[in-house]
C-alpha cells in the first residue's frame, strides 16, 4: 500500500459536510504512506486544504465539466492502478451510468443504485425495517393534500437524490415543491410521512456484494440542519446484520453505504434512506476502532483486511470546528458582490451538482395525473357551460345534494339511557348562508350553528326554532342592536368572563357550556386550562351554574389543517378534560360539540359513532354529540366560472394565463388545492398540474390562482375555466375588491 493512489471526492466540510474528508483521514490512519488525492468541483470546498491530502484536483462545476474528458481521465487513473472512492450522491449516480465496472472504482453499479432509490427502495423487502408511508408527487394535488391530512401535516418533501424539507401546511408544501423543483430541475419529487424517532444508522463497506465491515451509530447531538454532530458507535446487532448482508449480496453492492434509520420509542425501526456512500461521520467509527474506508480498499485490492476488531473504549465521537491554512496554490474564491437583498452572499457549494440530474434521467417531462371527477360533479360541470357573464360563482346542485344526503337523520326515539350519546349534525351558517343550502340542511334534519345574532336571525327566518340553534364563537352577541333570542338549544362561551356574564343574564337557554383550548394546540379560541390556576377558575364558574342549566363542552380544531390523527387526539383529549370538569365540579357534561373544519373527503372517513361511544364511556351522562361538518358540506359544492383575458408566452411556450376571476372571489386560492377544469369542445376537462401560472385579474402581487397548470398550447383569450372547490369560506369570505361597487 506504500504507493497506492486513492482518489477521494466530496471534500466540503461545512454545516452539512460531505464524507470525503472523513474517508481520507481514515485511509491515512490505515495506510500512512498511500498517495491521497482529493477531488471536488468548487474552489471553496474546505476539505481541499486539509493536510491529509497529498494532492488535490479541482474540477469544473458539473454544469461546465466535459464529461467525456472526465470519464477518460478517470479511466486512465484506474488503469494505472488507482482506487476511486466517490462521496457525492449525484457523482456516484453519474459514475454508475458512465463508467464500466473496475476493481478500483469503489462505487455501486447502476443496477444496485436502482434497488435503493427513493421513495420505494426495492431492497427494503429484504430488510427488517418498516417503510414510512410515501408517495411519488406525480399524483393530483387533491390526493397529495389527502396524504398530508392522513399524516397530520407532518410530512417531508424529498428531492430525487437527497434533500428534504419539512412542511406543515399547503402553502409550505407549494413553496417546498417549487424550491426542490428549481434546484433539482425535475418533478420527480416524493412526499414522505414524518416518523417520530431517534436517528440511527448502519454504515458498511462492501465489495461485490460482500460486506467487509459494518457499524451502528446512534446520534447524540444533531445540528439544526439535522446533521450528526456527535454520536456513539456500536456493533450492528446480529438480527439486523444478517438481513443487511443478504440484501447487499442480492444487489451486489460495492462501495460505502449508510442505511439511515429511525427508531421510535416503541422499538420499531423505520428505513429512512439508503445513501450510496460512506456517511460524513465515518471517521468517528475509525476512532472507535472500526475503519470502514480501509476495509473497503483492502477488500477491493485483495489485501489482507485488518482483522475485525472489537470496538475500543472510545465509542463516542464529536465534531469540533478547526481553522486550517489554505493551500497557496488554491486560494479561496472571492465572494460575489453583495446583492440588493438583505441576505448575505454565501458560498455555493454543490450549486451546480444538480446539473447532473438531466444527464441521469433525460426522459420526457414528468406528466402529472389530472384530478378524478365524481359523477355528480361531472354533471354539475355541464351546467357551467350555460353561464353567461364571468366571473360567476355557480352552485353544483347535484354535488351539494349528495353531500347533504350523507348526513344521517336524527335517531328516533332519542338516546336510550344505557347507549352511547346521540349524534346530531349542525349546519354552520358561516359556511354558506344561501337559501338553497339552508333548505338542504333543514331537509337533512340538521341543527343550526351560528356565530352572531345576525346568523341567529337568519336561521330563525329559514325555519329553525330557537331550540334547534347552537350559538358559538367569540363575538356571538354581536350586534347589540339585534334582539338576543332566548331559549337556544346551546350556548358555548369562549371565555370564563362570558360564562359569568351569562349566569347573571337571566337567559333561559337549554344548555350552557365552554369551548376548551386544549393544551398543546395553537389556537386563539376557547378557555385555557393548561395552568392549574386557570382550570380552578373554570371549575368555580361551572360549579356556580344554575342547577337547571345543562352543561356542555365544545372543542374545535380544523381537521383539514391539523390532519385526521391530530384532530382525533384533540377530541379525545377534550373528552378527558370534560371528564375532569365533571369530577371537579359535580356537574354532569350532557353535550359534547365537535367543531367543524373537516375536508369534504374526510367527513365520511371519521368514525363519529366510535368517538361518541368513547365519549360516552368517559362521560356517563352524555346525551348528545354535536358534529359540525362545516366546510365539508359546502366547499366542493361551488365553482367559479372564469374567462381567459390574456395568454403570455416565453420562448414560444405558454408561461402565464390571466383570467377574470381573482383572489377576491377565491380568497383561499393558495390555502388548499382546487380542482380546475377547462372547457374544450363543450366539455369541462380536468386540468393537471403543469408549468403555466394562472393569474387573477386584480393588481395585487399575490393574486395567483394556481402556481402551475397543464394548459394546452392553443388556449386563447375568451376560453373558459372552472375553478371548483369554491364553496364554503371561498364563498363567504369573498370580497368586492376590483369590482365597481364596494360595501
Amino acid at each position: 500500500m506504500a504507493n497506492q493512489t486513492i482518489f477521494v471526492s466530496g471534500l466540503h466540510s461545512g454545516p452539512s459536510p460531505s464524507a470525503g474528508l472523513g474517508v481520507a483521514r481514515s485511509l491515512r490512519a490505515a495506510f500512512g504512506t498511500c498517495h491521497l488525492i482529493g477531488i471536488d468541483y468548487w474552489a471553496g470546498s474546505s476539505g481541499f486544504h486539509h493536510e491529509v491530502f497529498d494532492d488535490v484536483w479541482l474540477k469544473p462545476s458539473w454544469d461546465l465539466l466535459e464529461q467525456d474528458l472526465y470519464a477518460r481521465e478517470l479511466a486512465a487513473e484506474l488503469a494505472r492502478g488507482a482506487c476511486w472512492v466517490p462521496n457525492l450522491d449525484l457523482e456516484i449516480a453519474w459514475l454508475a451510468r458512465r463508467m464500466p465496472a473496475h476493481r478500483g472504482l469503489l462505487a455501486p453499479s447502476d443496477h444496485a443504485l436502482a434497488q435503493t432509490g427513493k421513495p420505494f427502495p426495492a431492497v427494503a423487502r429484504r430488510l427488517p425495517f418498516e417503510l414510512p408511508p410515501a408517495l411519488e408527487m406525480t399524483i393530483p394535488d387533491d390526493e397529495i393534500h389527502a396524504f398530508c391530512r392522513d399524516h397530520s401535516w407532518r410530512v417531508w418533501i424529498k428531492g430525487p437524490y437527497h434533500e428534504a424539507i419539512a412542511v406543515a401546511s399547503w402553502p409550505e408544501l407549494e413553496r417546498a415543491r417549487a424550491q426542490l423543483r428549481e434546484r433539482w430541475q425535475t418533478d420527480r419529487l416524493s412526499i414522505q410521512a414524518h416518523v417520530r424517532g431517534y436517528e440511527e444508522s448502519v454504515a458498511f463497506a462492501a465489495v461485490g456484494g460482500a460486506i467487509a465491515d459494518a457499524v451502528y451509530m446512534r446520534k447524540r447531538i444533531v445540528t439544526p440542519e439535522g446533521k450528526t454532530w456527535a454520536g456513539r458507535i456500536g456493533e450492528v446487532p446480529a438480527e439486523l446484520l444478517t438481513p443487511i448482508e443478504a440484501a447487499v449480496r442480492e444487489i451486489q453492492w460495492t462501495g460505502g453505504a449508510e442505511i439511515e434509520l429511525l427508531r421510535d420509542v416503541d422499538g420499531r425501526l423505520w428505513l429512512n434512506e439508503w445513501n450510496p456512500r460512506f456517511p460524513a461521520w465515518v471517521h468517528g467509527a475509525t476512532l472507535a476502532g472500526r475503519n470502514l474506508p480501509a476495509a473497503l480498499v483492502c477488500r477491493a485490492l485483495g489485501l489482507p483486511s485488518p482483522a475485525a476488531r472489537p470496538l475500543t473504549g472510545r465509542v463516542e465521537f464529536t465534531r469540533v470546528v478547526l481553522e486550517v491554512p489554505v493551500r497557496a496554490e488554491l486560494p479561496l474564491p472571492l465572494l460575489p458582490e453583495p446583492e440588493h437583498g438583505i441576505a448575505g452572499a454565501v458560498g455555493k457549494y454543490g450549486a451546480a451538482l444538480s446539473a447532473i440530474v438531466p444527464l441521469l434521467a433525460p426522459e420526457d417531462r414528468v406528466r402529472v395525473a389530472p384530478p378524478q371527477v365524481p359523477a355528480e360533479l361531472a354533471a354539475d360541470l355541464r351546467d357551467a357551460a350555460a353561464v353567461g357573464a364571468t366571473p360567476h360563482r355557480l352552485m353544483f346542485r347535484r354535488t351539494a345534494e349528495a353531500a347533504f344526503a350523507g348526513i344521517p337523520q336524527p335517531a328516533r326515539p332519542p338516546r336510550r339511557a344505557a347507549g352511547p350519546a346521540q349524534l346530531r349534525f349542525a349546519y354552520s351558517l358561516k359556511t354558506c348562508p344561501d337559501a338553497e343550502y339552508l333548505a338542504l340542511a333543514r331537509g337533512a334534519g340538521m341543527l343550526a350553528e351560528c356565530i352572531s345574532l345576525l346568523e341567529v336571525r337568519r336561521a330563525l327566518e329559514a325555519g329553525w326554532s330557537a331550540g334547534d340553534i347552537v350559538l358559538n364563537g367569540p363575538g356571538k352577541w354581536w350586534p347589540s342592536s339585534e334582539p338576543a333570542t332566548d331559549g337556544l338549544r346551546a350556548v358555548f362561551c369562549d371565555s370564563v368572563e362570558e360564562l359569568e356574564r351569562l349566569q347573571t343574564s337571566g337567559r333561559g337557554d337549554r344548555m350552557w357550556g365552554l369551548r376548551l383550548r386544549v393544551p398543546g394546540l395553537r389556537s386563539r379560541f376557547g378557555v385555557a386550562v393548561d395552568d392549574p390556576g386557570a382550570f380552578d377558575r373554570v371549575c368555580t364558574a361551572v360549579a356556580a351554574l344554575p342547577p337547571e342549566r345543562q352543561l356542555g363542552v365544545h372543542v374545535h380544531m380544523a381537521g383539514t389543517l391539523v390532519g385526521i390523527g391530530h384532530w382525533r387526539d384533540v377530541v379525545e383529549s377534550a373528552v378527558v378534560w370534560a371528564a375532569m370538569l365533571e369530577a371537579s365540579t359535580g356537574r354532569a357534561v350532557r353535550v359534547l360539540d365537535l367543531g367543524g373544519g373537516y375536508h369534504p373527503d374526510d367527513l365520511g372517513r371519521i368514525p363519529f359513532a366510535e368517538i361518541a361511544a368513547f365519549a360516552s364511556s368517559r362521560l356517563a351522562s352524555l346525551n348528545e354529540v354535536y358534529v359540525e361538518p362545516g366546510r365539508a358540506l359546502t366547499q366542493a359544492t361551488m365553482g367559479v366560472v372564469t374567462s381567459v383575458l390574456d395568454v403570455r408566452r416565453r420562448g414560444g411556450q405558454i408561461d402565464e394565463v390571466v383570467v377574470d376571476a381573482c383572489i377576491a372571489e377565491l380568497p383561499l386560492a393558495q390555502v388548499y388545492p382546487h380542482r380546475i377544469f377547462l372547457f374544450t369542445g363543450g366539455r369541462a376537462v380536468p386540468v393537471a398540474r403543469g408549468p403555466v401560472r394562472l393569474l387573477g385579474r386584480i393588481c395585487m402581487e399575490d393574486d395567483v390562482l394556481s402556481p402551475g397548470l397543464e394548459l394546452p398550447s392553443n388556449i386563447a383569450v375568451g376560453d373558459r375555466l372552472v375553478l371548483s372547490d369554491a364553496g364554503a369560506y371561498e364563498r363567504t369570505m369573498s370580497y368586492a375588491f376590483g369590482r365597481a361597487g364596494y360595501p
Binding site: 456500536g234 416503541d266 394546540l521 387526539d569 369530577a583
Partner: protein
C-alpha cells in the same frame, strides 16, 4: 440489599429510600392529579404518532429542576415552578399508569464531578427540608421504570426527558447502580434488576481526596 452498590450508598437515607410519594390533602389533590393526567393526554399525541410508550416530554419543559420542600402534596406540586427528581418521578409514574402503561418507580446512583456537585450542593443548602441527594462520589436520582413487554424494561428520566442508555456505565452522568421497585425481576439492557435491590452496573468512582 446485598448488592455491591451498598458500598456506595453513602447516606443512610438512600439505603432506606423508596420512591418519593406526594401527599394528599383531599379533593384539591384529586383535582391536581386529574389535571396532570389531562395535561398529559393533551401532550401525548397517541393517535398522531401511534406510539404506546412515548414519555411525558412536556414535564421538563413546564417545570424547572431544583430543590423541593418535602413533604409536598399533589395540589402544591402541580402549582410549583421548580420541582426535584422525586416530584418528576411521581408525576411521570402517574402519567404512564393513566395511559395504561405498566410503570414503577426506580432510583439510580450517578457519577458527577465535584465541578458540578458543589454548585448543586450550594443550591440545595438553601432549602433544609429538601432531600439530601448529593454524595461525595455519587448522587441519588429518581426515575421511572417502564415495562415494555415480557421481562424487558426501559428507564425513563422525566427530569431530563430522556430514556437512559443501559450501555453507559461510567463518566459524567453515568448510572453506576439501579434500584427497581417493579414487583418482579426485569431486564434492562444486559442488566437484571431484582425487586427492591440496588444493582451495581458500572464501576464505582474512587473516593475524592480527603474523603
Amino acid at each position: 440489599m446485598r448488592s455491591a452498590a451498598l458500598d456506595i450508598l453513602e447516606r443512610p437515607e438512600w439505603v432506606r429510600a423508596s420512591a418519593s410519594r406526594l401527599t394528599r390533602h383531599g379533593a384539591c389533590c384529586d383535582r391536581a392529579r386529574a389535571w396532570l393526567v389531562a395535561m398529559a393526554r393533551s401532550h401525548d399525541f397517541a393517535v398522531t404518532d401511534g406510539l404506546a410508550f412515548a414519555g411525558p416530554r412536556w414535564l421538563c419543559k413546564r417545570y424547572t429542576w431544583g430543590p423541593t420542600r418535602w413533604p409536598i402534596a399533589w395540589c402544591e406540586a402541580i402549582h410549583a415552578d421548580t420541582i426535584d427528581c422525586g416530584v418528576f418521578g411521581a408525576f411521570a409514574l402517574e402519567i404512564f399508569r393513566a395511559k395504561g402503561v405498566e410503570a414503577h418507580p426506580a432510583q439510580v446512583l450517578r457519577t458527577y464531578a465535584e465541578a458540578s456537585t458543589t454548585h448543586w450542593r450550594a443550591k440545595w443548602a438553601a432549602m433544609p427540608e429538601a432531600f439530601n441527594w448529593i454524595g461525595a462520589r455519587v448522587v441519588y436520582h429518581e426515575v421511572t421504570l417502564v415495562h415494555v413487554g415480557g421481562s424487558v424494561a426501559r428507564i425513563y428520566d422525566p427530569t431530563d426527558g430522556v430514556w437512559l442508555d443501559p450501555g453507559i456505565r461510567d463518566g459524567h452522568g453515568a448510572h453506576v447502580a439501579v434500584r427497581s421497585e417493579a414487583p418482579v425481576a426485569v431486564t434492562w439492557g444486559a442488566h437484571k434488576l431484582a425487586h427492591g435491590q440496588w444493582t451495581q452496573i458500572g464501576p464505582m468512582p474512587g473516593r475524592p481526596a480527603g474523603a
